[in-house]
């Protein structure tokens, strides 16, 4: 059985029905790519899946229970990594501190050496202690994406435009990591404006723009 199910979701924003009757299951080892024009409701759908937005109709189920239930929401949170438009990187703190804060918030005991290794993989060598406000947009994005390496218990990734501001090498690195995660049984649902380069297997869900 799939863990995350969207059942008959309807979303109304600004008194306009963005989408209605959207249902799908997110299967293990699966990558779902949400596509659709700007304003079709991709971000809203992802935010409904995380529980930030309550759908106007329909339910999101985690292991058979609705995520509006607080116990289920917390159980879901333990196995979820969400990276949204806003990267949740504080410009006053360094890359290292931002990673530490996130790990502590998620109750992960990640030793600093692991964090250093991940930041090295992401090409942030020597920038670990620089306040993120002084880093470029792409480097900030990399700090945010470092979270994909820390949470070993995660089984679902929800990624909203993860490739924004990344260079070619960065995109390749993230795609490779996504492939590895799916191969290990994880499920990913994401949006992207860029076509995927190295990933060949995915399922498309298209949201149509409606007036």
């Amino acid at each position: 059985m799939s863990q995350l199910q969207a059942i008959d979701l309807t979303c109304i924003r600004r008194d306009r029905a963005l989408f209605s009757g959207v249902s799908f299951d997110l299967e293990p080892s699966e990558l779902v790519l949400l596509s659709g024009l700007n304003g079709a409701g991709k971000t809203s759908l992802l935010r409904i899946l995380t529980g930030f937005i309550r759908p106007d109709e329909g339910r999101v189920m985690w292991q058979g229970e609705s995520i509006t239930n607080d116990i289920t929401r917390r159980a879901f949170a333990q196995q979820l990594v969400y990276i949204g438009h806003k990267s949740a990187v504080n410009p006053l703190a360094s890359a290292l501190e931002n990673c530490v804060y996130w790990c502590e918030q998620q109750q992960l005991t990640t030793p600093p050496s692991v964090i250093f290794d991940v930041l090295t993989t992401l090409g942030l060598v020597g920038l670990e202690d620089v306040p993120c406000g002084q880093l470029s947009a792409g480097q900030n994005r990399r700090v945010a994406l470092a979270r994909l390496w820390f949470k070993q218990s995660a089984t679902v990734w929800i990624l909203d435009e993860p490739f924004t501001a990344l260079d070619v090498a960065g995109i390749a690195l993230i795609e490779q990591h996504i492939t590895a995660f799916c191969a290990g049984g994880g499920s990913v649902i994401m949006t992207s404006h860029q076509p995927l380069v190295s990933i060949t297997q995915w399922r498309d869900i298209t949201l149509e723009y409606r007036i």
């Binding site: 109304i12 924003r13 600004r14 008194d15 306009r16 309550r54 007036i211």
Partner: protein, 252 residues
């Protein structure tokens, strides 16, 4: 128990309800405002102390009562919206808000106008005037918050929180101001006691109260109707409505 209410969560049904209720409210408002005002201003006997200037009571008291009543109605609408997630409840809330604010303003204005001959000053920091002024600020806060959001559904939810927080605070504000007032200047202002009012003075007051209530209801219904149509502009039922009314206009 409240099941019968639920169909009105649908904007279309709420619109129809407005349509049905509006003539009744409007008729009651016009008739009783005319009777109450003419009776109060022309036929009721003058007060033996205040002379004719007491007659402003026929506007002041109903508007003051309705200013608070409308606030409570607004908060109830907001609470309904939060509990049952009704869009129409938030629309009702914001339909009532400016009407209530105008009632508050009328109460303040007539209060000041009454204060001039009675107390010799346009404004005194009387407890009731002060809490009425704060009530006006609370109304303005709810309306300003609603206006600040682009997404009107989110706006309704946010303004709803302020309306509910406000209604919890209104009694606290009222009693604190009253207490402050008695501390600071209780002696300088001779507060109105509650003199027993003669029945020939009371009747027009009650009729006007009914008239004001129906008037607030009627204007709110009109505003709610507009709000629903504006927000639902893209829906088929609004298109049908427009087509129907155009067809009727052509026939005539």
């Amino acid at each position: 128990m409240w099941k019968w209410l639920h169909p009105y969560a649908k904007p279309e049904r709420a619109y129809q309800l407005c349509h049905t209720l509006l003539p009744w409210f409007a008729t009651v408002a016009v008739v009783s405002l005319i009777i109450g005002t003419v009776w109060g201003l022309v036929f009721a006997p003058a007060d033996y102390q205040q002379g004719d200037s007491f007659r402003i009571i026929y506007i002041h008291v109903p508007s003051a009562i309705l200013s608070m009543g409308a606030y409570v109605a607004m908060a109830i609408a907001a609470a309904v919206g939060m509990i049952w997630q009704w869009r129409t409840a938030y629309m009702t809330m914001i339909a009532i808000a400016p009407v209530g604010a105008v009632m508050t303003f009328i109460a303040l204005f007539t209060g000041a106008a009454w204060g001039k001959p009675m107390w010799g000053a346009w404004w005194v920091w009387d407890a009731r005037l002060t809490s009425e002024l704060i009530l006006l600020f609370l109304y303005l806060g709810v309306m300003a918050l609603y206006a600040a959001f682009d997404d009107k559904l989110q706006a309704g939810k946010a303004a709803g929180v302020m309306a509910v927080v406000g209604v919890v605070n209104v009694p606290i504000i009222h009693y604190s101001v009253e207490w402050w007032n008695t501390l600071h200047q209780g002696a300088t202002i001779s507060k109105f006691g509650k003199p027993s009012i003669a029945p020939e003075m009371l009747w027009p007051l009650l009729i006007n109260l009914l008239g004001f209530a129906a008037f607030v209801g009627a204007i709110s219904l009109m505003r709610l109707r507009n709000e629903i149509v504006q927000r639902e502009l893209h829906r088929p039922w609004v298109a049908d409505l427009v087509a129907n009314s155009n067809a009727r206009a052509e026939k005539e």
